[in-house]
Structures are given as structure tokens and as C-alpha cells.
């Protein structure tokens, strides 16, 4: 202890002051503490503010997509026009195209207006029928073909109104803008107002937006997300079924069994690199391997699912490895000490304990995959698909769309009515994401046995 014999007092030693008197330095330090704390709180505030701004803008733009303007009126289904043979033969009735139905509806609308005593001065027949969506004829035709006995009767039908009229009731279109608009005139809007007063026109919940297929640019009011939701659901199913077991198996191997050498290092770098590879590169991979090399069909959920699986796999592996690492080694020791083999120790004890972490990681990976657009652009998922895919597993090979792609798609369309639909689709996407996160939290609570 030769060192300690130099008993000089510490040069920094200062005369003691009372504990109660905070000196200038302490005050300064406390101020800096307060400042630091404030920066932290400010960072949180900034993040949350950004979230609120984003959410309000999405909600503000998109909520209106869930409501739609409909025209409800009686339509006389003239047998002479719709069933020329008079036999009720479906094949013959199918010969009548939507153009024929459009005429029937046009007549019915004029009649309904006349009955309610609404003046239509200055508007020609084309402008009046322009209040209706072009989808109206198609939906009426489908109804009639589904139930041919309707022909010859007068039935009450609910038909979509034109997107501009709908926009008028939602505030997107105004009288002023209509003056400049080549697709609608202020007079038509006046008429729409009168129809609404007369109860012919109303705004109500739009189930077609959630369950219908996509529609062309001529009828934004009919565009729905059904195919996209189903396509996304199929893809998520594929991702879940493939990525979860493969990811967990790979993590178990890497974390518990792999010898620690250059090769496993390489695999490790490789996996963390894959987690950071831009998603667009996975699109290129999917295009080359799954479509060109393996000959899988375009626009099919199976290809999207596979690409997203490869993309999600690293996320799941990383999360799973972290979860496995977090299981205390004492549990492994306990099992091994009783004579369980390593495999048994892992399957019986470690995996169940790591489950919450694994599931959270999986769901985060899934959520990422759900919102991914760029790789899908390259494998043909940005298609106009109106037919619903079949039931799985064949349905996996049918063309379908996906939610984020549908958003992208809507934002590219000319008609301004698609703007609210894009935001509406984002809302649906966010709801799905939130649901998945809620499930993650629930699962975590459920599995987290802090016994």
C-alpha cells in the first residue's frame, strides 16, 4: 500500500457547505437537467404531433369515402326491351347490354322527376341521366339477370349517383367549380339538390367501397377495395404460413445449434443485410425468380406472398433470435440437468417462453409486408382487377390486387373523386395495421407467463 501513504488532501477538496444551500453550479446543473428533459419531451411531442397531422389529414380526406350518394327510385322493367323473346330465357336476356339498361333507367329517372314535380328546364336527357353513375346500368342488369322474374314489374332500386354529384354533397365540388367543370354543370347540381329534397337522392353508408371490386376511371363512385383486401389477406396468409415456421426454424438453428464460426458469421451479416436491403430489390428478385424462372402467374397473390415472405423473413429471424436470447439460460440448464436433450429443452421450454417475442416480431414483419408497395409494382400487382380471386389454394394463383397498391393506383387516376378513395383505402390499411398491432399486444399478454 505504498501508494496510499501519500496523504496529501485532494486538491479539488473544497470547504463543505450546508446541504441546503444549492450553489451556482448545482443550479446550473439542474437547469441543464431541466433543459435535457425538455428536449426529450419535445422530441416526443414532435413525433406525436407529426402523427396527429398525418392521421387527421388521412382521416379528413378519407372518411368521406365510406359514405356515398345514392339515387333511390322506382324503375319500370319493360319486358319488351329487356326480354325480347318474352320467354324469360336467360341467354336471350343476356343479349341486352348495359346500354339497353341505361335507357330503361333514363326513362325511369325522367318519370320519377315528373312524378315528384321537379322541373328540369334547360337540361337535356343526357344531362339528367348524367346524374347517375355509369355503374347504375350494370348493377341493374346484374340484379335483373339474377332474378329474371323482376322483368315486367316496377321495382324500387338504389343506384349510385355520379361521382361529381357525390362530390357536391361532400363539398368537393361547388357551384363555382361546376361552372368550369366539363363533366357537370351548376344546373345539374341544382337538380340534384331538388332531388335530395324530394327524397330521391340520399347519402348513406357505402358498403361497396369495402366489398366491391375496382372500377374504371369513368365511375370512381363504384370503385371498391374488396379485391385488394382479399388479395392482401391472401398474401398475408402466405407470408404467415411460410415465414413464421421457416424464420423460427432458422433462428433456432442459428441461435442454439450453429457452431460459432466464420460461416455463421457470414449468415448473420447476410441476414442483417437482407433486413436492410431496399424492398424494391426484392421486387426485382421476385420478377426474375418467381415469374420469369419459375413461371408463376403475373398479378397473383402467390408471387406477392413469396416476395413478401423473403422480405419479412429477416425481420422475423432477428426478432426470434432476440426472443430466444432473452430466455434465461437457467431454464435451459434446468432442462438439460434433468436429462432433456437440447432439442427437447428448446421445444419444451425455450420456444414457449420465447413465443411472445416471436409473435410480436412476426406481426411487425407482417405489418411491414402489408404496407409494402414498391416490390409489388414490379411483379404485376398494380393491375386493374375486377374479378374476385377464388378460394384458396387455387385462388392464390388468380389475379388480385393489394391494399397499398390500390392506394397507389387510386392516386394515379385522373378523376378527383379518387383522392378520397385513396385516403379511404389508407384508412382501411391503417385499421388493419392497428388491428395487427393490437393482436400482437394481446398475444404478448396472453403468452407472457410471468409465473
Amino acid at each position: 500500500m505504498t501508494d496510499a501513504t501519500s496523504q496529501t488532501g485532494l486538491p479539488g477538496a473544497q470547504p463543505r457547505k450546508s446541504l441546503h444551500a444549492a450553489d451556482a453550479r448545482t443550479r446550473r446543473r439542474n437547469a441543464s437537467e431541466a433543459r435535457f428533459r425538455f428536449f426529450g419531451a419535445a422530441a416526443i411531442a414532435i413525433s406525436i404531433l407529426a402523427l396527429i397531422v398525418l392521421l387527421t389529414s388521412v382521416l379528413g380526406n378519407g372518411l368521406s369515402a365510406f359514405r356515398q350518394t345514392f339515387i333511390t327510385m322506382p324503375v319500370a322493367l319493360d319486358a319488351k326491351v329487356l326480354d325480347k323473346s318474352g320467354t324469360g330465357d336467360i341467354e336471350v336476356m343476356k343479349k341486352v347490354t348495359t346500354i339497353g339498361y341505361a335507357k330503361v333507367i333514363e326513362k325511369a329517372l325522367t318519370a320519377a322527376l315528373a312524378e315528384k314535380g321537379i322541373a328540369t328546364d334547360g337540361l337535356d336527357a343526357k344531362q339528367i341521366s348524367g346524374l347517375l353513375s355509369q355503374e347504375a346500368a350494370a348493377s341493374l342488369r346484374n340484379q335483373v339477370l339474377a332474378d329474371p322474374s323482376m322483368v315486367g314489374q316496377t321495382v324500387d332500386v338504389k343506384l349510385l349517383a355520379n361521382g361529381r354529384v357525390d362530390g357536391f354533397f361532400k363539398g368537393r365540388v361547388t357551384m363555382d367549380s361546376a361552372k368550369l367543370d366539363s363533366n357537370i354543370s351548376p344546373e345539374q347540381l341544382e337538380l340534384a339538390l331538388k332531388m335530395r329534397e324530394a327524397g330521391l337522392m340520399s347519402v348513406s353508408f357505402n358498403s361497396g367501397f369495402l366489398f366491391g371490386g375496382d372500377a374504371s376511371e369513368l365511375r370512381p363512385e363504384a370503385a371498391g377495395l374488396g379485391v385488394a383486401i382479399l388479395g392482401s389477406a391472401y398474401m398475408m396468409l402466405i407470408v404467415l404460413v411460410l415465414a413464421l415456421p421457416i424464420g423460427v426454424a432458422a433462428s433456432i438453428y442459428l441461435e442454439e445449434f450453429a457452431p460459432k464460426n466464420k460461416w455463421t458469421d457470414l449468415i448473420e451479416v447476410n441476414i442483417s443485410n437482407l433486413a436492410a436491403v431496399p424492398s424494391i430489390v426484392f421486387g426485382i428478385l421476385g420478377l426474375a425468380i418467381f415469374i420469369n424462372f419459375m413461371g408463376l402467374p403475373q398479378s397473383a397473390p402467390i408471387v406477392g406472398g413469396l416476395v413478401l415472405t423473403l422480405m419479412t423473413l429477416p425481420t422475423i429471424i432477428i426478432a426470434t433470435r432476440a426472443a430466444l436470447k432473452a430466455v434465461p439460460p437457467s431454464i435451459r440448464d434446468a432442462a438439460l440437468g434433468i436429462g432433456a436433450s437440447k432439442m427437447q429443452a428448446i421445444t419444451h421450454h425455450v420456444l414457449p417462453l420465447a413465443m411472445p417475442g416471436i409473435l410480436t416480431g412476426t406481426i411487425i414483419g407482417l405489418a411491414q409486408a402489408l404496407g409494402e408497395t414498391a416490390p409489388l409494382l414490379l411483379i404485376g400487382m398494380v393491375a386493374f382487377v375486377r374479378e374476385f380471386p377464388g378460394a384458396p389454394p387455387e385462388g392464390f394463383f388468380d389475379p388480385a390486387s393489394a391494399l397499398p397498391v390500390q392506394v397507389y393506383n387510386f392516386t394515379q387516376r385522373a378523376d378527383p373523386a379518387f383522392v378520397e378513395r385513396a385516403s379511404g383505402a389508407i384508412i382501411v390499411l391503417l385499421v388493419f395495421l392497428l388491428l395487427m398491432n393490437a393482436v400482437a399486444i394481446l398475444l404478448r399478454r396472453r403468452f407472457e407467463r410471468r409465473w
Binding site: 457452431p259 460459432k260 434465461p328 437457467s330 431454464i331 435451459r332 440448464d333 434446468a334 432442462a335 438439460l336 440437468g337 434433468i338 436429462g339 432433456a340 436433450s341 437440447k342 427437447q344 419444451h348 421450454h349 417462453l353 407467463r449 410471468r450 409465473w451
Partner: protein
Amino acid sequence: MNDMRIADRTVSTDTAKMTARGVQVYYGENHALKDVDIDILGGTVTAFIGPSGCGKSTFLRCLNRMNDTVAVARVLGEIKLDGEDIYDKAVDPVTLRARVGMVFQKPNPFPKSIYDNVAYGPKIHGLTKSKAELDQVVETSLKKAALWNEVKDRLHAPGTGLSGGQQQRLCIARAIATSPEVLLMDEPCSALDPIATAQVEELIDELRSQFSVVIVTHSMQQAARVSQRTAFFHLGNLVEYGETGQIFTNPQDPRTESYITGRIG
């Protein structure tokens, strides 16, 4: 040292249950255990004492090949159980560990029910034919571990909900449910309060009638209380090994003496 309560010294006359000859352990470059020769007798409690880091745990883990799970560990020398080399290629460590059970420093019950904790070993080794038989094994083991009375009404409650001492006894019950021949315990009481410690010590004394028990402890008092034979390790060497009474009252080696008189450690 006259005020230490020394357990009665009736040493069983069994031949050696386990024999170690020239055991050396390396952790990578670190030579943690140097040339240890020892005979663990049947029906006896053997205590390993020594300062921290001297290699007690290391040697204990050699006895049931738990060191196999440490990637950097290398074990040389020969360890025999009933005359069979346990490091032989043909020996499955899993089977070995069923015969040489282990209890750890910190109680580590599985996050399962008490019943499942005890039944786990018999299940994976297929020791029972029927549910009734399994129930029987669980009951016997818990009874042997002196825990039955405390938990018999809540066998399906989580094992982690027990107190520390109960958990440790549960771990002992779990270990003896596979009816091992040797029971290794690495500082089984260091995480327990005095009352729980006393219970576990009493238990160890009872277990000795059926198993060979090897216990690592930091507390010389504890070694004196529970063991019949004591081995003193120092810096990786087995310094002295003999009857507990003799080690504590009449150590041969100066290092042993300075340790038990509190001059080192």
C-alpha cells in the same frame, strides 16, 4: 472452531460411486481445473468448498457433462460412474444426466405447474407407464423433497409462484423424480433465507440415504453442517479431500487452514 455444529460423521463404507482421475478443464486458454483426482462415495454428502473462482462449479459440471454445453470448455482426464467412463464416445450425455441429476444455485423451476415441473423428467425419460404411476412418482418425489405437505393442494398452481425456499425444494424434487444415482448441487442455498436454508439442509441430509450428494457451498458452516466428506479447492487445484470433521478441525494443508480460519476468502 469448536462452536461449529459438525454433522455426525458416520461415513458410509460404500465403494466409490464416481471416480475422477487427472481431470483438467480448460476454458479456451484459461486452465480452470488442474489435475483433480477424487472419489465420490455412495450414500454420502460430499461438500466442495473454496474461494470464488477456484473451480468448484467447473468440476461439479464435469460430473454430469454439463460442460458439454459450454463451447469453449475442454475436459481432459477420466471420470467414471460405477466404473464406466462417462466421457466415452458411446455414452449419451442425456442418459448420463438422467442418472446424475443437478440442482442449481438459483432456483429455476420451469414456468409450468408444480406437477408438470416434477413430472417433466419421468415423462421425457419414459419412466412411467400410466398417469397413475406418474402421479405416484410426483407425490413420492415431492414427499422426499419435504414439499408435499405444502403444495399437495395446489399441484397445478405455477411452480414459479412458490417462495424461494420452496422453489429450491421443488427443483430438488424435480431432480430426484428421475431417480438419479448422484445429485449435484451448486450452492443450492445461496439465494435462500436462513429458514429456507435450514429446511434444504435438513433435506440434503435425508437424501443421502438414497443418493450420493455432491454440494458446492461458499459457507464453511454449511459444509460442516451437511457433509460427511469435504474437498477444498484453491486456484483450480484440489488441495485437500477428506472427512469433513478432519478437514475442519485438523487441516493438513496450510492453504486449507488459512481458508477455514478466515484468513483468506
